[in-house]
Symmetry: C2
Subunit: 431 residues, 2 copies
């Protein structure tokens, strides 16, 4: 161990430190997720961030595989840091498929890693709230998942006018592609290509479509599909007996009962990058579309069979912590750390220290958060620090307070003061 | 992607899955940690579980270095999964040393990894609550940290009679070793050897002491030190002017004011495995000593300088999630998942589904947790599932309820029932 040479104090490239200020923001997001999980009756679950590489490779979308952080442990086991939670969910469900009571409504806050080029401040890790319903075919599953996400956005203080959920359906697109005469085998390539719209030029997408086996004359037809702008228009193309349109209509109807229909828009351009989606897909954005997707997800009915489990319908979403914080700062302002219901307790000389400790212990036993100063301070320094901190109240104990057996509890917002009793000095010794 | 071959559904060796049942236990522990953090006025912080290998190697104890999960990212950067949070804390503090207001009172719940032999169900990852005071020399820092830990144990429901904090001091041991004529250079080897007592035979420890440069006649003297059984006895050996004894006495005095002195015992055998401790050290155990340490920690005044930061006194503890759960299950019984304030809402036929969704939405908007059934059920099946679940209340909606506009909310514990209004059917459509 070389003790002399200083080393870098930065976190590894692409990884984040959360100092208390950043952590306060993160906690606002996590607390909203936890609250929505509780309100909507989802059961928290979790798994280790380290997974077997085989599992991640087996079900990852095409883009993800070469972005996996993988490594070997000291006995040569091939491991990886998960890039998303869904493969782990599938593994856990498959492991106990006979013993679980379906439908499952499970939720996790999972750190996920992707080795990406570092552009525009993109990070290599983020936290993602996962909300999944496993084992339910009805579109009520999609509605419950989206309702949980809407609940979380509201818990974060984001007004309804500031966000929209864009919804489409791969099943609908498959129906429309079949209507154009494209064989089912070509659909995956079409989804993959269309998902890149807006990220790469349309020429390049056309090339991808041709590479995927689409005939030259099919390319403009696919592009025209992307101009469908309403569910009515989609129905006119797909036919009145379209199952995919009926499911989308049912989702809108349920959303009205839940109370988030005004935030739901049909948007055929929503495709999703991952290959495993089979039905309704969705992405949420800030209304002004300044930022990337806030959350995304959809129905994935074949995932369990792809890893060797029983056929199981499922729908889920992933809701990251990064974009929503950008949206919150844009919409709500960077209000920073807020005052909390917390009492700062300080003391003037070492002779008042015991009284301060005793008061802190009493207030804490009453359920109050107390930030106890650990050394004697001048009143000015104490109140300056307390005023700049996050505490809502402050008590400063001087010699006179100990003599009188009472100190003043000051509300740092209103400046109001009230009296708090101080315990007589204790002189216990031990051991 | 081979879709046929089934793959293992187990997590990687040594890693844990948290199904909802296990997660409920974990949440009891995490919630107690979060509550104690809040009550005791510590600021949550966090950092990525991936650190630079250099940082971990620089400050890790001798035992830890070859247990690190390390790997290279795709650009050859040497990374590792942290084995403990303290190096990261030191890095973060050093990075902003000029801009932080000391003393810091910081807290984190951090997943940590160690590649260990898999004996007796030991895992290769655990969560560890870290509570640190950085920048405070006074023993009030130790007292605040221990008070936070005592608060958490009480929040977990563990009676005071079920746990003890064993406390000693490396500074005291250093004074005693100096009194025996051992040069300061030999102390680290003595600490390291003594930390293994109870894990390896005393013969092997004697050999370690000799390897560490201790003269043959010193070995029995060191073993006799380990028989010191009280602070008075330690003071008799160290002298009345012993600073280390004075600090320990002050800690016991403060603990009495905080109200956890009855749970604090002097125990010279507490050494701690990590090399960076400099003063008071402590470990908590279940009173019957059936399990490993519940938490441990101490003062580490030189850690920041070891990575190139400014000299900064510090004290902290690490409190893992595994042992305390074993203690809770032993002391409190394996009470499993408890009923929560949650309403299970079910419906008999698809015709009542909208009424169920509407009721769920309303109850949730009132702040209640609602587990909504996603498909029609027979009443018997619904109430059986609700009774076996964690919900405290249940509402089952049949055709008659919709007709009457009212259903019955049943308390699953007391069997009491009350009426809940159902909204008239909505027929919104969109988009």
């Amino acid at each position: 161990m070389n003790q002399q040479q200083p080393i870098s104090f930065e976190p590894p490239r692409g990884m984040r430190d959360f100092y208390p200020e950043e952590m306060a923001w993160r906690e606002r997001v996590f607390n909203a997720w936890r609250q929505a999980t509780r309100l909507c009756g989802f059961s928290p679950y979790d798994a280790c961030v380290v997974e077997s590489l085989e599992l991640l490779q087996r079900k990852a979308g095409e883009e993800v595989t070469d972005q996996i952080y993988n490594f070997e442990d000291k006995s040569g086991r091939k491991l990886a840091l998960r890039a998303e939670m869904t493969p782990t969910l599938a593994r856990m469900v498959a492991a106990r498929q006979g013993g679980l009571r379906f439908p499952l409504k499970w939720s996790a806050i999972a750190q996920c890693f992707r080795y990406e080029r570092m552009t525009r401040g993109r990070k290599r890790e983020h936290y993602q709230w996962n909300v999944d319903v496993v084992g339910e075919e009805s579109v009520l599953a999609e509605a419950e998942v989206l309702n949980a996400a809407a609940t979380a956005l509201r818990m974060m203080g984001l007004p309804d006018a500031s966000w929209r959920i864009h919804v489409s359906s791969r099943a609908l697109l498959a129906e429309l592609l079949a209507g154009l005469g494209f064989a089912p085998e070509s659909h995956a390539a079409v989804f993959l290509a269309l998902d890149k719209r807006g990220k790469i030029p349309d020429d390049a997408i056309a090339a991808l479509l041709r590479d995927g086996g689409l005939p030259e004359e099919g390319v403009p037809k696919v592009f025209r599909l992307m101009e469908v702008s309403s569910l009515d228009e989609a129905e006119a193309l797909a036919g009145a007996d379209s199952k995919a349109v009926a499911r989308l209509r049912e989702l809108f109807r349920l959303a009205a009962i839940y109370g988030f229909a005004d935030n739901l828009v049909f948007d055929i351009s929503v495709i999703r990058g991952l290959s495993y989606y089979t039905g309704i897909v969705f992405e949420a954005f800030d209304t002004e579309r300044k930022f990337r997707a806030i959350f995304g997800g959809g129905r994935y009915d074949n995932l369990l069979t792809s890893i060797g489990g029983e056929p199981t319908p499922a729908v889920g979403l992933g809701f990251g912590d990064v974009v929503v914080q950008e949206v919150m700062k844009e919409v709500l302002g960077d209000c920073g750390r807020q005052r909390e219901d917390r009492v700062a307790v300080g003391f003037m000389t070492p002779a008042e220290r015991d009284a301060a400790v005793s008061l802190a212990a009493r207030l804490r036993s009453e359920g109050r958060s107390v930030d106890l100063s650990l050394s004697a301070q001048k009143p000015k320094a104490f109140f300056k620090a307390a005023g700049e901190g996050t505490a809502s109240h402050a008590v400063f104990i001087g010699p006179d307070d100990v003599a009188s057996g009472s100190a003043r509890l000051k509300n740092l917002e209103t400046r109001e003061e009230s009296a708090v009793a101080l315990a007589p000095a204790q002189t216990d010794t031990a051991p």
